[in-house]
């Protein structure tokens, strides 16, 4: 995200602040100074990771147990975990969509493969959650290389169609010919997840205050992977890859003519996003202890696109919020009290939310947050 510190809208503002501070009062000075420090710290790796840890730790309490907020949101622990799982999927997907400008409509294949591979491994190889995840991710990485290699032959809409076609192929393979492994229409039911490090049953609560905040070991396990994912993606975006991806998004031919092997970078973006899709899929299995056939269906690919756009393409944390909002509507608004009157129309609600965000805040929910932050900062300085 540090590339956003060079955000053009920020830059002239900061220069203007510098001029103002000279003649400003003491309080104004403090505000500006605090703000400059915040601007500087905002995108640093430690800050991003720190804030993510705090957010992940406090979220289940606020969502499921805090006095007023949780009543308002009607949240519960398991939904909080599910939000993190899809959040990992969406922030990984954004490497491809937001950064590199490639719309894949076949990421269900990667998420589903991660989920099935993890489920199958848990039933046949090992019960250890970490190993189950590792196997799920490894299988998905291999599949991403193959799918990326085949689909990236074409750009734009053809790429989207190719990914969709390959993903549907895998869906049909799983539904019938491979049903002796996948369980066909019934999904994969034999998931056996053991305890973490052989000690902590994932279903039990953490001790004392940690239990109140975080809740279950399962949430902590998934939350740790989310923090890891945010840190890893932050790193990738600040590596040469980050700027090359953006260059490809903006002007592919130019990127090639300054000497980049565009094709390989696109494949790298595809495999990186596939890795997180596989990780999320494996965690989905650990979360639900079951793999539905629908995890390979094209609708799953569509859902992650919607989550990413809703949260804000091209922002590191935005898609997390997109995933949260999507699931909240899907699980809470559709679920009855206090939304009985609107519950049957939850898809309509989702559609309206999506359309209004796209029309009113093209940069997604995260873009809206950024706008507000800037507006407040400007207001503070004007005082």
């Amino acid at each position: 995200m540090s590339d956003e510190s060079a955000n053009p809208t920020d830059a002239p503002e900061t220069e203007a602040d510098g001029g103002k501070t000279l003649g400003g009062s003491a309080s104004e000075n403090t505000v500006t100074r605090l703000r400059t420090r915040w601007e500087g710290a905002r995108d640093r790796e430690v800050t991003v990771i720190g804030l993510t840890i705090v957010g992940v730790a406090v979220f289940p309490y606020l969502f499921a147990r805090a006095p007023v907020v949780s009543d308002l949101l009607q949240g519960y622990q398991e939904l909080a975990s599910l939000m993190l799982v899809w959040g990992i999927f969406a922030i990984g997907f954004d490497i491809l969509l937001g950064r590199t400008g490639l719309l894949s409509f076949g990421h269900a294949a990667l998420w589903g493969t991660g989920a099935y591979a993890a489920g199958w491994a848990s039933a046949n190889i090992t019960e250890f959650p970490l190993l189950v995840v590792l196997i799920g991710v490894s299988v998905t990485v291999v599949l991403s290389v193959v799918l990326g290699f085949l689909s990236l032959r074409r750009g734009g809409i053809y790429f989207a169609i190719l990914t969709l076609a390959f993903a549907q192929m895998i869906y049909y393979m799983a539904s019938a010919p491979l049903s002796f492994i996948t369980g066909g229409d019934n999904g994969f039911t034999g998931v056996e997840i053991g305890s973490f490090l052989g000690v902590f049953d994932l279903g039990t609560e953490l001790p004392s205050i940690a239990g109140t905040l975080i809740g279950t070991w399962r949430y902590a396990f998934i939350g740790a992977f989310l923090v890891f994912s945010v840190a890893a993606i932050h790193r990738v975006l600040n590596s040469p890859y980050g700027i090359v991806f953006r260059a490809i998004r903006e002007n592919e031919q130019r990127a090639q003519f300054v000497g980049f092997n565009v094709w390989r970078y696109k494949l790298a973006a595809f495999v990186l996003s596939g890795t997180f899709a596989g990780l999320a899929g494996a965690l989905f299995t650990i979360h639900g202890q079951y793999v539905p056939l629908s995890s390979l269906y094209w609708q799953t690919s569509g859902e992650v696109v919607i989550m990413t756009v809703l949260g804000g393409v091209g922002s590191l944390l935005g898609p997390l919020f997109g995933a949260g909002i999507y699931l909240w509507v899907e699980y809470i608004v559709s679920g009855g009290y206090p939304f009985e009157w609107i519950a049957p129309y939850w898809l309509l609600v989702l559609g309206l939310v999506f359309v209004s965000v796209v029309v009113l805040f093209p940069e997604g929910v995260w873009g809206l947050v950024g706008d507000l932050r800037r507006r407040v900062a400007t207001r503070l300085e004007e005082q």
Binding site: A232, V236, P240, V258, G259, N261
Partner: protein
């Protein structure tokens, strides 16, 4: 040995022969202009050298090695850079990031598995970025999004991107097309400075004869895909074939 040589370079589009058996040699440090009426094959020639187009026949030799089988990014990595006729920039990125990408391409190579390595581990990149932007006098505007630049600045940034990739040979496709007289003058002096300071070899496609005759060491005239004349500006000026190609030489 010439820096760049084309041997019998021929490109056919269906029945049309866009370049027809073009043999040219560009020596190191030279400024060579390629001129000719519209449709003479100038841009096709450049596009073959940068490997955007596959020649139908012939060979291209750069620094003594054939590049006719190379990918465009490999040609760029070997030191051939091109500034496009239209400003081919990265519109949503800042001026500085535009140059940074090109400098990174030069410093870092076409592809590496270093996705966990921070960009500030490549100090040469920011150095190259600053130098280039100062050379094209856009350092002051480094935080402006490229799409917000006025047209002349965009074209200068375009040249800046080409320079930041540290080429040995710079191909410029009509660097002053669509520019105001002031912008044209600024660009010409930029090209001259760059040539002197960096010792670049330049191949220029240009319509403005004043610029061509002022800046070139040698001029190659194309007509209907063929080289019809080649020589110093003085020699070209008096060439009857050239005047014929340009309809009585109104421009000359």
């Amino acid at each position: 040995m010439a820096l760049l040589e084309t041997q019998g370079l021929t490109k056919r589009f269906g029945g049309l022969t866009a370049t027809d058996d073009v043999n040219l040699a560009v020596e190191e440090g030279e400024v060579v202009s390629v001129i000719g009426p519209n449709g003479a094959g100038k841009t096709t020639l450049i596009n073959q050298i940068t490997r955007l187009l596959d020649p139908s026949e012939g060979d291209i030799v750069f620094k003594g090695e054939s590049i006719v089988e190379a990918e465009p990014h490999e040609v760029a990595q070997r030191g051939v850079s091109k500034s496009f006729q239209t400003a081919s920039i990265f519109p949503d990125l800042t001026v500085e990031q535009n140059a940074e990408i090109a400098a990174l391409g030069a410093e870092h190579g076409s592809f590496r598995l270093n996705f966990f390595r921070h960009r500030n581990q490549y100090p040469g990149v920011s150095e190259g970025t600053r130098k280039t932007l100062e050379a094209v006098s856009l350092w002051q505007k480094r935080n402006t999004p490229a799409s917000d630049l006025p047209y002349g600045d965009k074209r200068r940034l375009e040249i800046g991107i080409a320079l930041a990739s540290e080429p040995d040979l710079l191909l410029m496709d009509e660097p002053t097309a669509g520019m105001s007289p002031e912008e044209t003058n600024a660009t010409v002096s930029l090209v001259e400075t760059v040539k002197e300071e960096l010792g670049l070899t330049l191949v220029l496609i240009e319509h403005d004869m004043e610029i061509v005759f002022g800046i070139s060491d040698r001029i190659i005239v194309l007509n209907r895909g063929r080289v019809i004349a080649e020589g110093t500006p003085e020699e070209i000026q008096g060439d009857p074939d050239v005047q014929e190609a340009y309809l009585g030489g109104a421009d000359l």
